[in-house]
């Protein structure tokens, strides 16, 4: 069995599972996938019932979680910043609703990086089009910042 076959069949090509260790917010609410190839950086997940709100559609909190992670991963990879960057501000517009079975994908555009701040735009989409628009301001720590370990990728 090769590594790739460990992923569910409905995960789009190029995406790899982000395998966080322990019981944290990411491991409890995922699984989340990362694509990083040919200059394209994207995060994604498949909507399950467990990601939905009492109305049975994708929970806004789950969308905002992916948007927050997309701003962090996207800015870190695209701007080459290997520090943990805490979020300072985020603004979200809920453009559409997501349904069980949808593949949600997040992409990030880095607008500006200063000595201490990074500004990014995030868009989440499904096969039906735009789902959530977000903007983010991230803090770049002056020293090493908080210690952390990048999660391994599987698939």
């Amino acid at each position: 069995m090769n590594e790739a076959s460990a992923l569910p069949a409905d995960i789009p090509p190029g995406f790899r599972l982000i395998a966080w260790e322990g019981v944290t917010f990411n491991s409890t609410n995922g699984p989340f996938y990362l694509k990083h190839e040919d200059g394209d950086v994207a995060l994604g997940f498949r909507v399950e019932q467990r990601h939905c709100n009492p109305a049975g559609i994708l929970h806004g909190g789950m969308m905002m979680t992916l948007a927050d992670m997309t701003s962090g991963f996207g800015t870190s990879i695209k701007a080459g910043i290997d520090k943990f960057m805490p979020t300072v501000n985020m603004t979200f517009d809920f453009v559409a609703s997501g349904r069980i079975g949808d593949w949600v994908e997040g992409r990030c555009e880095v607008l500006k990086v200063t000595r201490s701040l990074a500004f990014a735009s995030v868009m989440l989409t499904t096969q039906a089009g735009p789902l959530l628009r977000a903007s983010a301001v991230l803090k770049i720590p002056s020293g090493e910042g908080l210690r952390w370990k990048r999660a391994p990728l599987i698939g």
Binding site: W20, G22, F25, T28, P54, L66, D68, T87, F92
Partner: protein, 167 residues
């Protein structure tokens, strides 16, 4: 799989009861709590291990999950709109990092209610210190809205004779 976390393990302050939200995203993002008096409605949760990010602080996603839930619920209760009100916009400032074990609380302020929209804001505190500032806009659906029985979901409201200020 939906992970469930024991509300008692969160050790809420006196007067806070668990919010019964059924089997959904809130089950593993929570447990969430509420406390009502005659003229107040406050929500809260304890920061636990399953709310943390890779650096051991509260995950930004978790902070906005609670901000969104508390704002939507607080506006619905305070404006006496017992239906599902989807979030249209949310803006959050992350004022401080939240530490494991801290008790987070939200007391929503109603800014304006129109026929089709709810505008509100809330300042979340962690162990009494400002933690996250949030403002948001919720849509009141015209029809086919999902209705909630707040009397059954939040027994404290009836028990304390809660009166919505903005109705």
């Amino acid at each position: 799989m939906i992970a469930r976390f024991d509300p008692a393990a969160a050790n809420p302050p006196p007067g806070f009861d668990p919010i019964r939200h059924g089997e959904n995203f809130n089950s593993h993002a929570g447990p969430f709590f509420y406390r009502a008096t005659k003229d107040s409605f406050v929500t809260g949760f304890r920061i636990m291990a399953h709310h943390l990010n890779p650096v051991g602080m509260i995950h930004g996603g978790m902070s906005v999950v609670f901000a969104d839930m508390s704002l939507g619920l607080g506006l619905a209760i305070k404006c006496d709109v017992p239906i599902f009100t989807p979030t249209v916009n949310l803006t959050v400032d992350f004022l401080a990092g939240g530490k494991l074990g801290a008790w987070v609380e939200s007391d929503v302020k109603v800014i304006r209610r129109t026929r089709s929209m709810l505008f509100g804001e809330t300042l979340l505190t962690a162990d009494g210190t400002p933690f996250l500032r949030c403002s948001g806009v919720m849509k009141i659906p015209a029809s086919n809205a999902m209705h909630f029985d707040y009397g059954a979901l939040f027994p404290q409201l009836k028990a304390v004779g809660y009166q919505p200020p903005a109705s």
